[in-house]
């Protein structure tokens, strides 16, 4: 029996990195847009974070559809 440890390791690494990365980026977006006295730069950065997350969702849909 051959267990593909490399693939399993990849799944682990990619999953953890992507989850932490996406949640982190999205949280930065939330932090940048919450609160009324935020600067323009903070807001712009926050929207960039949201855009990045939206792109990730779009990539997720591509992965699902293109299977």
């Amino acid at each position: 029996m051959h267990i593909d440890w490399v693939a399993l390791g990849q799944v682990f690494g990619v999953s953890v990195l992507m989850t932490v990365g996406l949640v982190g980026v999205f949280t930065l977006g939330i932090v940048g847009t919450s609160g009324s006295s935020r600067s323009v730069a903070a807001r712009a950065g926050a929207y960039a974070c949201y855009a990045l997350c939206a792109a990730a969702v779009a990539y997720g849909i591509v992965l699902i559809v293109g299977k």
Binding site: A7, V11, V14, T19, V20, V23, G24, I61, I64
Partner: protein, 426 residues
């Protein structure tokens, strides 16, 4: 369609019933924490999940080539009776775990059912033992670990980054993000699981000589499989939603977002890399991970323990039921009829039992499931830092063990109020 025999017809109907229980069972994976954090209203959440499951059923171009992913040797003499017996076992186990409110893998139930029926009807040479380890055991063991680690790390990070922010203020953003993640999980579920039913029906049609081998499923198969899973999803296995959303741990918006995003990422990453992990175990692991990631968060280990036991039992239990069903179905037409009647009877009995303590969209968030604070939970609470803001647990100075007691007593007394059956009867 004039060539469809009664037996093939029964197999198709049974496959659609399984598809229905599959949707019913797995709503929780995508929507449990979405509902418990209040990101979406219960009915709206299951409606969205149902639509995405339906869309997913139509999206996938490639039909599952083998219904069991190579676990059973489908050329070794899988007749419609075997498929039928396998499906009955899977349905019965799905309903039993639903009654207990435990998330368990519908795929494992289907595999177990097919394995049990094949063992009885065909013999040991019809089952590939290696494939069971590769396709069931390892993905199921790895899934909660991978998802749990990812969700724990993500929860820690998001709480650290948003430190000093008002939780009410950030909750809106987290909820929005969670909806996106849940939508992805639903869509992925539709493409995967509706396919399995299409594969089963197509295989039954091929074995009955209705359609040529290796042909694509007819449109009516795709439509009916998609509708069955969507209907099951919409009706919502509220019992399992309650366990996953409220029973395992108390989920806040930030945790719900981390858990759901972790689940979506793990599901997509694993299937993309080619080492698909079990969806149910991924989602449950992610919820537990999110529970561990928050300071003061408590995972109810006795609930988690029962869940893990159900995971371990799924394959053998479904296999046992299906083995018995196969033994009966092999006796001829009356045997098949007996299995059908018994299956309906057991399903009816389980449904009746569920009416005693109904869980509906009305009360899915209202109460914690009956859960006495187990020894492990109490021990973990004693070791873990006490919750900072525990609404139900009294003053923090009372100590973690004292705080656990009232929670447990409330939970055991008030799972369902007598007023509920009226609402549930609708």
């Amino acid at each position: 369609m004039e060539h469809i025999t009664l037996l093939i017809g029964i197999v198709i109907v049974t496959a659609l019933v399984f598809d229905f229980t599959n949707g019913f069972h797995d709503t929780a994976n995508a929507m449990a924490t979405t509902i418990s954090t209040g990101a979406m209203k219960p009915k709206v959440a299951v409606a969205m999940s149902a639509v995405l499951n339906l869309v997913g059923a139509f999206l996938s171009v490639e039909v599952a080539k083998t219904i069991s992913g190579g676990i059973i040797d489908e050329k070794a003499g899988v007749r419609p009776e075997v498929i039928f017996a396998g499906l009955v076992g899977a349905i019965v186990w799905n309903l039993l775990t639903w009654l207990a409110g435990l998330p368990s893998s519908s795929s494992h139930a289907l595999f177990g059912g097919l394995i049990g029926a094949t063992l009885v009807s065909v013999g040991t040479h019809g089952v590939h033992g290696d494939a069971i380890v590769m396709k069931v055991v390892i993905p199921a063991v790895a899934a909660p670990i991978v998802a749990g680690v990812a969700a724990t790390a993500a929860t820690r990070l998001t709480y650290r980054l948003s430190r000093g922010r008002d939780e009410k203020e950030t909750a809106k953003g987290y909820r929005a993000g969670q909806i996106a993640s849940a939508a992805l999980v639903s869509l992925a579920h539709g493409t995967n699981d509706a396919q399995k039913t299409m594969g089963v029906i197509t295989l039954a049609l091929v074995t009955g000589g209705v359609i040529a081998p290796h042909s694509d499923p007819p449109l009516w198969v795709i439509v009916s499989a998609g509708l069955a899973i969507a209907l099951g999803t919409y009706l919502g296995g509220w019992r399992i939603i309650q366990t996953l959303g409220k029973g395992l741990t108390d989920i806040r918006p930030a945790q719900g977002f981390a858990a759901q995003t972790g689940a979506a990422t793990v599901i997509l990453a694993s299937s993309h890399i080619g080492f698909a992990l079990s969806t149910t175990q991924v989602c449950s692991g992610a919820v537990m991970g999110a529970g561990l990631g928050r300071k003061g968060g408590v995972v109810r280990w006795s609930t988690a323990g029962r869940m893990v036991i159900a995971w371990c039992l799924t394959l053998p239990a479904a296999g046992l039921v299906s083995g018995g069903a196969a033994l009966l179905a092999d006796q001829g037409s009356w045997g098949v009829a007996a299995v059908a009647v018994l299956g309906l009877g057991v399903s009816g009995a389980i449904w009746m039992a569920s009416r005693r303590k109904p869980v509906t969209s009305e009360n899915v968030n209202a109460t914690a499931p009956a859960e006495p604070a187990g020894v492990v939970t109490a021990a973990m609470q004693a070791v873990a830092p006490p919750p900072r803001l525990n609404g139900a647990g009294g003053p923090p100075s009372a100590g973690p063990l004292a705080a656990a007691a009232p929670v447990a007593s409330v939970a055991t007394v008030a799972p369902v109020t007598p007023a509920e059956p009226a609402a549930a009867a609708s």
